[in-house]
């Protein structure tokens, strides 16, 4: 159990560290580039949070901040998965509207329904379902961090 009440460092910094550690554990099986994208983004969320909280008129809250940082990392993962699928799908749809239904990437041929397209769709579908079941899909897809904070506070993300 990841207990945010006990941390090596006091307050926000310590709990932020635990959130980043959780994200490191999630991403340790992922390719290096993807892993660094997610962790780097989560760090930028951590760095921006004090200003965001101040603008929202909120006090520093280490537990809230830890959750927001963690959600930030998941937002990046979700954005990566979502954008990869939608980039390919949008390209296929856009080109399809002009009568071209196949993309040749070197030796690989991609159409809607081809192996790569289906696997990317499956990746997105499963991730969305997982996040939905854990009650955080809405927070992950929120348009702003004000909204993320509100959803995490409510426990309804």
């Amino acid at each position: 159990m990841l207990d945010l009440a006990y941390a090596d460092d006091s307050g926000s910094r310590g709990r932020a560290k635990l959130s980043l550690q959780a994200l490191e554990q999630i991403t340790e099986e992922l390719p290096y580039g993807i892993r660094e994208d997610i962790l780097g983004y989560a760090r930028s969320v951590r760095d921006a949070l004090p200003e965001i909280l101040e603008q929202e008129g909120l006090s520093r809250d280490p537990f809230l901040e830890a959750k927001v940082i963690f959600v930030g990392g998941l937002k990046k993962l979700y954005a990566l998965v979502s954008s990869t699928y939608w980039t390919l799908d949008s390209a296929l749809v856009g080109l399809g509207q002009s009568g071209v239904h196949e993309i040749r990437l070197g030796s690989v041929s991609v159409t809607r329904g081809s192996s790569l397209h289906l696997r990317l769709r499956q990746l997105l579908t499963e991730l969305e379902e997982l996040l939905r079941q854990e009650g955080i899909l809405q927070a992950v897809r929120a348009r702003s961090y004000a909204e993320v904070i509100s959803l995490v506070q409510d426990g309804s993300g």
Partner: protein
């Protein structure tokens, strides 16, 4: 939210799909370039341009040009037309530099329509596009935006389209018009790179930085933005005055990391 439970579930998810994530990673740059090409096409479409996708003769598929090698006639292109003006989008396009005989390969070239041969001409070798026939271009990076990346991009603009680096701004380029030289980046701003980009307008530098490209694609797909390369509240013209008071914490066309703005920098 039980952070530990979510952590364990997502970790197992990542392990289960290790092969697909490896393919995402290995094909990410190709898909990023292709996605950028389509995003530029969608940007032009949002500004009223008609689209025509052209494939090499006899080919049913969109053939992606992956590097500088090869005659453009062997690869697909996208034609865009509005008010009898036509441009073409090409991947990995060779173009003559602005100052000398140097030839550069831009990730996505926006060329005047009809000037790049669509088929081989016997006895005629095609080396590159003439500089004056290049309308604009885009460079695509999967990195974070850091200061030296910006400096390097300005160096590329200096070599290829230096007129975009000095005032006054060139008419016909902006959010609702042709794309100015654009840096499309998968990553977000790091360090003080957002401050650097913010200062470009005041310095008379007419380039666009579309950072967080994955977020922009997702926003556009969810109909939260008209163009996948510009947020809807990005300033329309490069000579428009920058608002003195930030609007909801956002100034000009720069997003300083995650914001509290009602307009999306992180998408739904």
């Amino acid at each position: 939210m039980d952070l530990a439970e979510v952590r364990d579930l997502v970790k197992r998810f990542a392990e289960r799909h290790r092969r697909t994530f490896a393919e995402v990673s290995s094909r990410q740059y190709q898909l990023l370039e292709l996605g950028s090409l389509i995003a530029i096409q969608q940007h032009y479409a949002s500004n009223g341009f008609e689209t025509d996708v052209k494939t090499p003769a006899g080919q049913p598929a969109f053939i992606v040009k992956k590097n500088a090698r090869g005659h453009p006639a062997n690869y697909s292109r996208i034609s865009l037309a509005r008010d009898s003006k036509e441009v073409e989008l090409h991947l990995n396009l060779l173009v003559r530099g602005a100052h000398d005989a140097g030839i550069y390969c831009v990730d996505i070239g926006i060329a005047e329509g009809g000037v790049i041969p669509a088929r081989y001409e016997k006895g005629k070798r095609w080396n590159c596009l003439a500089n004056h026939e290049l309308v604009s271009f885009a460079e695509v990076k999967r990195l974070r935006v850091y200061p030296m990346l910006l400096a390097q991009f300005l160096g590329v603009v200096h070599e290829i389209k230096p007129q975009f680096l000095t005032p006054p701004p060139i008419d016909g380029f902006g959010r609702d018009q042709h794309l100015p030289p654009t840096l499309i980046v998968l990553g977000h701003f790091s360090g003080n790179s957002s401050a650097i980009v913010k200062a470009y307008r005041e310095r008379g530098i007419q380039v666009h930085v579309a950072e967080g490209f994955d977020m922009r694609i997702a926003a556009h797909r969810a109909n939260h933005s008209r163009s996948p390369l510009f947020w809807d509240d990005d300033l329309e013209d490069y000579d428009a005055p920058i608002p003195e008071d930030p609007v909801d914490g956002v100034e000009g066309s720069v997003r300083v990391g995650p914001t509290t703005s009602g307009t999306p920098s992180i998408t739904k």
